[in-house]
């Protein structure tokens, strides 16, 4: 990088040397997934919040009845999985922007991903239990 005049001794092309050096690296897949989950969460999020608002003050029996409807089960599972995916992508960007030591950055991103997978699994199991055994 120091020598301004490019030496032509190397057989590697400029693009081959530059590839992978920037801050973004494999950013396109992340960017695209964030947008896709965002679009999916527009109807899913509105449905969830509208449902919860309509369930304000509902007792356990009413909630169990709502949860055991096949549509609720499917839509809620989809919403939770998509929301966790979207949250992981978003939190990762926040960590990348504001945590500057490599070790802390990597640790936090791994923890966020582990937590998201664990919590999403817990949510799906709770959903099934509430729907079928509640």
């Amino acid at each position: 990088m120091a020598d301004a005049a490019p030496s032509r001794k190397s057989l590697r092309s400029d693009i081959a040397k530059a590839r992978g050096l920037g801050a973004a690296k494999e950013g396109v897949a992340h960017w695209w997934a964030q947008r896709l989950t965002a679009i999916a969460l527009i109807p899913l999020g509105i449905w969830l919040v509208a449902s919860l608002v309509c369930l304000a003050g509902a007792d356990h029996a009413q909630i169990s009845q709502w949860l055991s409807a096949p549509f609720t089960l499917g839509a809620l599972a989809l919403t939770i999985l998509t929301a966790f995916y979207h949250a992981v992508l978003g939190l990762q960007v926040v960590v990348e922007d504001y945590v500057h030591t490599h070790a802390a950055k990597l640790t936090l991103i791994i923890l966020i991903q582990f937590a998201a997978f664990g919590l999403a699994t817990a949510a799906i199991i709770a959903l099934l239990v509430a729907a079928f055994a509640g």
Binding site: M1, R35, A38, I39, L41, I42, G45, I46, V49, V53, C54, L55, A56, G57, D59, H60, I63, S64, L67, I80, A83, F84, A87, G90, L91, V94, D97, Y98, H100, L119, A122, A123, I125, A126, L127, V129, A130, A133, G134
Partner: protein, 131 residues
Amino acid sequence: MAGHPRPLSPHLQIYRRQLTSVLSILHRFTGIGLAVGLLYLVCWLIAAASGLDSFDQLQSFNGSIIGRLLLLGWTVAFFYHLLNGIRHLAWDAGWGFELPAAYKTGYAVLIGTAVLTIVAWAIGYYQMGAF
């Protein structure tokens, strides 16, 4: 390359505040808040799955002052992140980048958030028989 350390992200303390930058950082804050809200939603589902007692405990916390403030915060965060997210998607599609448009949609997001939050809570209180 390895010169003196330069700031790596916008420094909120020294950056001159303007509507667009405040809305931008609010998108992040509400996003983080909604991730915590997602955690709370999982707790709520686990409580519902654990039976009547744990569910009633959580519901009575929801009805407390702190519970209501949290739920209100998450409602505001949800509608803000939803509307501003749509604004971001429009930008991604190349629409609304001009400064007047960015300000107009910015104010629309704020007004929309307030209106939708009030509507949602009015319906919620109506469901509970408040009026």
